[in-house]
């Protein structure tokens, strides 16, 4: 993975010193809350419903065992013994004291971590596929480019005060596992007929109160020109984006207003001015960064070793876990493993300090010390030998981390909701717990098969409910919680925003409605098609009718 150079170290150290000084001036009263608020937000410190919250960046989701141990240490010493992994591949601590935050940031800086670009109207932390560099369907590894973008966007003087926050995702797989169609800018590695790899640029996607599927702005941008092209987009946005209305300030609204063609014309005009100029990333720099993502020393191994086959036939629990949580690797004999942070009745994305330490140990023992945070709020071990899968599984079982539900109905993505979030209308976590209890039978989950389920506690859509195959939105109905059910969303390259199946559910009511929806799917399923395919084939109506009949 990328290692900081002296410049990076210095930038982070200076930022820690600067913010430490600002915190002490706030505590002494030299800074008012109005003066301090934007400063703390620039450093990832929010004030939530019950306490401060610190959001720590995990650039493109990559962690080492050493970093994970440091996160565990921070959770234990400065927080209440746990952390929460988010849909943007970051981690949040829910109970830090303001007076401890300088010390926390110092501890993070020692392991090349920080909270920069985790809040404010800047280009946020770039996200990518949690299986980057190991997925069998990958065109090219997107991580070097994610790092190029990180360096380009961090403290970019022109783009520090954008009209609104700005999110970029990059994906290298044929399958889009980074939701590129739902970011301000989505970037997909594609191959031209010439055989060259380059970038497809998608713009104006987003969720929130005005969900939009992003649209292809440019089908192929050469790698050497990526920064001038992005710079051109950002300039057009920075100039024309609406600063007068927070709800109309995202780039998706600008693209709507100018039309895609109009927006493209503006971008192209700006691009022609700066194309090939100093803003481009030099080839040597790409090579230097690429070297940090060089392959580990793979052993010459064969796929499906006999010990794996034997263990699978011996234990149906292990077999179920392998079929759900183990993904094909581009290198024979290896596997990419998802460690589910969604146990039955658990809190999606939460991990205790002890679990983080255990994960760090497992990474050292079984995954060359590497871990990833996925946008599904799980942890990925990317370099596991297939002949060690059984040993890893046994170790995970002992820690309660072997839930075999990746991509299944209880692999729920949920925002913190009203249990933590000051903006929430309704709770998300208890609902996620109820759903995973209702569908706790793992054999039944495997029978239902692939389906994504997302819960947001308000229209800001941090739980990505618009793009869940099944989505739930919490709303406020005269001071009480109410839930809306949405069906048919899709975060992948076959992107879709879900349709409203029904409003006004109680928490229990929405769980029953999901049960009904699954019943319709199972009755209508053909040839083992996944939920989303049945939905596309038969449409919303049969689901809606069944829900209403059962109400």
């Amino acid at each position: 993975m990328y290692r900081y150079d002296e410049f990076d170290h210095q930038v982070v150290r200076e930022r820690v010193a600067e913010f430490s000084d600002q915190v002490s001036r706030r505590l002494s009263g030299d800074l008012s809350e109005e003066q301090f608020r934007p400063l703390r937000l620039m450093n990832g410190v929010y004030l939530q419903l019950h306490a401060y919250m610190l959001r720590v960046a995990v650039p493109y989701g990559e962690l080492t065992s050493g970093k994970m141990r440091r996160l565990a240490h921070i959770a234990r010493v400065y927080d209440r013994g746990y952390g929460h992994f988010t849909t943007r591949q970051n981690i949040q601590f829910n109970w830090p004291k303001l007076s401890d935050i300088p010390a926390i940031l110092k501890e993070l800086a020692e392991v090349e971590m920080h909270a920069i670009q985790t809040s404010g109207n800047c280009i946020r932390n770039v996200t990518t596929d949690a299986f980057a560099g190991v997925a069998a369907d990958e065109i090219e590894d997107p991580r070097p480019w994610a790092e190029v973008l990180r360096q380009w966007s961090t403290f970019h003087p022109e783009f520090t005060y954008l009209p609104r926050k700005f999110k970029i995702a990059i994906s290298g797989g044929a399958q889009d596992r980074a939701a590129t169609f739902f970011h301000d800018i989505g970037i997909r590695l594609v191959r031209a007929e010439s055989g060259d790899a380059g970038f497809q640029i998608i713009v104006g996607g987003g969720m929130g109160r005005t969900p939009r599927v992003g649209r292809v702005l440019n089908g192929f941008v050469a790698k050497s020109e990526i920064l001038s092209y992005l710079e051109a987009i950002l300039r057009v946005y920075n100039l024309h984006g609406r600063r007068d209305n927070k709800y109309k300030a995202r780039i998706k609204i600008l693209v709507d207003a100018l039309t895609l063609e109009g927006f493209r014309a503006e971008v192209d005009a700006e691009w022609q001015r700066i194309r090939g100029s100093v803003v481009e990333v030099p080839a040597e720099e790409v090579e230097r960064i690429g070297a940090y993502f060089a392959d580990p020393d793979w052993q010459a191994l064969a796929d499906n070793p006999p010990e794996l086959a034997a263990a699978r036939s011996r234990s149906s629990a292990f077999n179920g876990w392998v079929s759900a949580n183990v993904m094909a690797h581009r290198v024979p004999g290896y596997a990419a493993v998802t460690v589910s942070l969604k146990p039955v009745g658990g809190i999606p994305g939460d991990a205790t300090a002890d679990q983080m330490d255990a994960l760090a140990d497992f990474a050292d023992r079984y995954s060359l010390g590497a871990l990833r945070v996925s946008k599904e709020q799980n942890i990925v071990l990317p370099y596991v030998r297939q002949d060690q899968l059984h040993a890893l599984w046994q170790a995970l079982v002992a820690e309660g981390l072997a839930t075999a539900n990746k991509g299944l109905i209880s692999d729920i993505i949920a925002c913190p909701g009203l249990d933590y979030c000051a903006l929430a209308n309704a709770r998300s976590i208890p609902l996620a717990q109820m759903i995973s209890e209702r569908f706790s039978d793992i054999a039944r989950q495997h029978d239902i098969g692939e389906v994504t389920l997302n819960i947001s506690g308000c229209i800001n859509a941090c739980g990505h409910h618009h793009v869940g195959n099944i989505g739930i939105l919490g709303v406020d109905k005269r001071g009480e919680e109410s839930y809306q059910l949405v069906l048919g969303g899709d975060a992948t390259q076959t992107a879709a925003i879900g349709d409203i199946a029904g409003p006004g559910f109680t928490a229990e009511g929405v769980v029953d409605a999901i049960e009904t929806v699954i019943g319709v799917y199972l009755a209508q399923r053909q040839n083992g098609e996944p939920f989303i395919d049945t939905y596309r084939r038969i449409g919303l109506t049969p689901f809606k009718e069944a829900i209403n009949a059962a109400r």
Binding site: A51, L98, T403
Partner: protein
């Protein structure tokens, strides 16, 4: 006649606190002094001058009867997350696996 209590977040640690009859701040909602809307406004203004003690003081409506805040958001804010969390919420390996 609406009855209110005054709440804020403590500056140093961010925790939710309530204005007491003694003019101090307590983490326990039970310690909160109940005001009329008019008096609560005065108290909020006073709290905003305690900038090194608390942040974001505001008045919270109470239910017509009893001493609980009327809105769910304020009830959760007053008593903490409604779910067990952290080490207290660890799921046993058997249950985690859905066995």
């Amino acid at each position: 006649m609406s009855r209110q209590i005054v709440s804020a977040n403590r500056l140093t640690d961010g925790l939710v606190v309530f204005r007491t009859a003694a003019g101090t701040w307590s983490e326990r909602v039970e310690d909160a002094r109940v005001y009329t809307a008019e008096d609560a406004e005065i108290e909020v203004a006073a709290a905003s001058r305690e900038a090194t003690v608390v942040v974001g003081a505001y008045a919270v409506d109470l239910e017509e009867q009893g001493s609980a805040p009327s809105r769910l958001r304020e009830r959760i804010r007053a008593t903490g997350p409604t779910i067990a969390y952290g080490p207290a919420a660890v799921i046993t390996p058997r249950r985690a696996a859905g066995a």
